[in-house]
Symmetry: C2
Subunit: 208 residues, 2 copies
């Protein structure tokens, strides 16, 4: 097959990436040692040169995923100083990720890994927590800057933000692309923005 031999560091990355793709494309069932190996152009047993077993491979895939998603959030921080614009940008990036990868919904939103390795569940949870923290930070800064309503709980708002995308992502891949994620995101954002932004006109109604 592939005549070349590569260093184990390179291979580990390749394999982790392939595993993530496999997971994205076919769900947990497609995350088999054989399938991943074939993606990289290797034979199943070769995987064991670079990983202790399937579990370690899965963990590596989740780790790679975290890198990508956090990079996503980090980049947004540099785009704009305004919290609302940042959130909108995150949302748009999500939409793009959904249309490219489909990995996001499968990894973060799904329970795919729950039945997998013991640590996977905690890792996924860790990813989500990190991500939510990132969102919550943006929100807090927005509140400090006076653009986001101060009476909102940042954590709750972050989870709600996640809720703007999650169902859309599920629908997208359940309909195999038939659901218009972009349109949904645009409309939902419009409503959500109104809900969390400080009113520009001269009003100050209470939260409830």
């Amino acid at each position: 097959m592939s005549l070349e031999k590569l260093g184990t560091e390179v291979r580990r990355r390749q394999i982790a990436a392939a595993a993530l793709e496999a997971l994205a494309a076919g769900g947990p069932k497609a995350l088999s040692v054989g399938a991943v190996a074939r993606r990289v152009g290797l034979v199943p047993s070769a995987i064991y040169r670079h990983f202790r077993g399937k579990d370690e491979m899965t963990v590596a895939a989740i780790g790679l995923f975290r890198e990508r998603i956090m990079e996503n959030i980090r980049a947004v921080r540099e785009e704009s100083p305004d919290a609302l614009e940042r959130l909108e940008s995150v949302l748009n990036r999500h939409v793009r990720m959904i249309r490219d990868n489909i990995a996001m919904p499968r990894v973060v939103f799904s329970d795919s890994l729950a039945g997998g390795p013991a640590g996977a569940k905690k890792l996924v949870l860790g990813n989500i927590r990190l991500y939510l923290d990132g969102l919550a930070d943006i929100i807090k800064e927005g509140q400090a800057a006076g653009t986001i309503r101060p009476e909102l709980a940042p954590e709750t708002t972050a989870v709600m933000f996640l809720g703007l995308i999650m169902p859309a992502a599920i629908l997208w891949h359940l309909t195999e692309g038939g659901f218009d994620v972009t349109r949904h995101a645009a409309r939902a954002w419009s409503t959500f923005r109104n809900a969390i932004a400080v009113n520009t006109s001269s009003q100050k109604r209470g939260g409830r």
Copy 2:
């Protein structure tokens, strides 16, 4: 084991229920013929007296789930004529379902079934569609009655409503009950309600 023999109709229901529970408790991995059989107090091969195979069993479980969830929505319609109150009630029922079953997130929100039988994916999609339609109907009625903002797209709003619960459900079972779903639902609802309710005070700002 179980000395009694039951009619196949009764058994089918029992098995479907057990399958749903198994799915709820342990995810797709736990949805094995053997595990389900054990739950009912049968031996694996006995399942084949009532179902053609695992796929048909899975489909039955999804069907049973649809019954339950739609019953949930139907009941709310009788509780109150007001759209907002109905939505709040649906939300509360969801919270309760999450804490009892955990079946909901696993079935509706997850891709668990994607790798399963060919038809399962479409069935799950059908369930979600039905559910969203039910929500959208409530929203439309609210708009007609003048309690929900008319400029909102009912479908988008229904999906957003789903987004109030979905991430919370995932977090709930990822943290094994550590995430406070009730509190999140209460807070998120407060914000969401403000976003979709017609302002009672004398204002009429545009949607965007």
